[in-house]
Amino acid sequence: MTQGSEGTGMLDGRAIIDAMRSAGLDTIVSLPDITTSAGLLWPISKESDIRLVRVCKEDEGVSICAALALCRKRSALLMQQTGLFDSLNAVRGIAVEYKLPVCMFVGLLGKEPGVAPPQNKRYSVRVVQPVLDAMEVPNFCIEDNRDIAKIGPAVDRAYAESQPVVVLFGRRVQP
């Protein structure tokens, strides 16, 4: 199974940042991830209207975003799938069980472009969506510029229904 094979075959960081901004995400909490470093995190760090909070460990970000949501402020956690795995208890305890809209943007390190995550050769990529599905965390993968339009509605739905969402980046985001 392939994904995004009919599209442009790229992810434009500027368009993603615009989509985040349009969705009201004015605070980004992050640990660096090479998949999104040049295309998202470095540009975000230079945006004057987006607050960047650099954390030491990803589960901090789950709690920070959850607290901001309780304050009716929108934010997102930007990280690598390894950080997501490391944060699963916080995702479970805070975002899922307490029903809080924690939005997570996750770079898939090592993913083969154009191949859907569950079909990837790498275990660390292949198991991401099954784990999220088992935890009942809504998630989807984007790997083409056409998919960027899904970000806004997904963020809106997370806040409207007070539940977490994970957006997976299926290829390296370009600056």
């Binding site: 954390v55 460990k57 589960d59 709690s63 607290a67 304050c71 916080a90 305890g93 805070i94 069980e97």
Partner: protein, 193 residues
């Protein structure tokens, strides 16, 4: 060494309208000592109280935010000290109740119970003001100035537990508690459903 409940009473006397994040045994004692709609009880994902408090401090920059952490809890999230010091929220005051054990999980000792310095961690991380209290009279004398100081501030409270509080987790995990807390925050931020 101080009784934790005595310390919490002193903090309660000075909390004003602060939002307070408390953990586990401290939280059960806290809600009895200082019942308030802005008590956020941090259980279920151990170690996350300091990060939750940072989120509240960012989200409510004009509101004092106090976190009453545990030593075992903070050991799970030491990086949060660095993150907090880096963000440097002026409205955040961080207490850690240092009793050297995982009280809610069978009283097992924390690693390094007689060696570790939480104030040392906080100082090295870059908190603006760091102190320790192990004597109740000193706490009574110095706490007002400490709590008025510009944050992020940190105090290690060397405590022993009193009588074990009843651990009714339904109070903390209940949907009603979450709804009540959210309604209180909505009133502050002017959010209308």
């Amino acid at each position: 060494m101080m009784l934790r409940t005595d310390c919490l009473k002193e903090i309660a006397n000075l909390r004003g309208d602060a939002l307070v994040v408390a953990v586990y045994s401290s939280a059960f004692e806290w809600i009895g000592i200082s019942p308030h709609p802005l008590n956020f009880l941090s259980v279920g994902a151990m170690g996350q109280a300091s990060s939750s408090a940072l989120g509240f401090a960012i989200g409510l920059p004009n509101r004092k935010v106090i976190v009453i952490d545990g030593d075992g809890s903070l050991l799970m999230n030491l990086g949060s000290l660095v993150t907090i010091a880096c963000v440097a929220p002026a409205n955040l005051t961080h207490f850690v109740c240092q009793n050297g054990c995982y009280e809610a999980n069978g009283d097992h000792p924390i690693p390094g119970e007689d060696k570790v310095s939480f104030s040392g961690f906080a100082h090295a991380a870059g908190y603006r003001l760091v102190t320790e209290f192990s004597d109740l009279n000193t706490l009574r004398t110095d706490l007002p100035a400490f709590m008025q100081a510009e944050g992020p501030t940190f105090a290690a409270l060397h405590v022993q537990a009193g009588e074990k509080p009843a651990l009714d987790y339904s109070l903390m995990h209940g949907a009603e508690a979450r709804r009540s807390f959210q309604a209180s925050l909505d009133a502050i931020v002017g959010h209308r459903r």
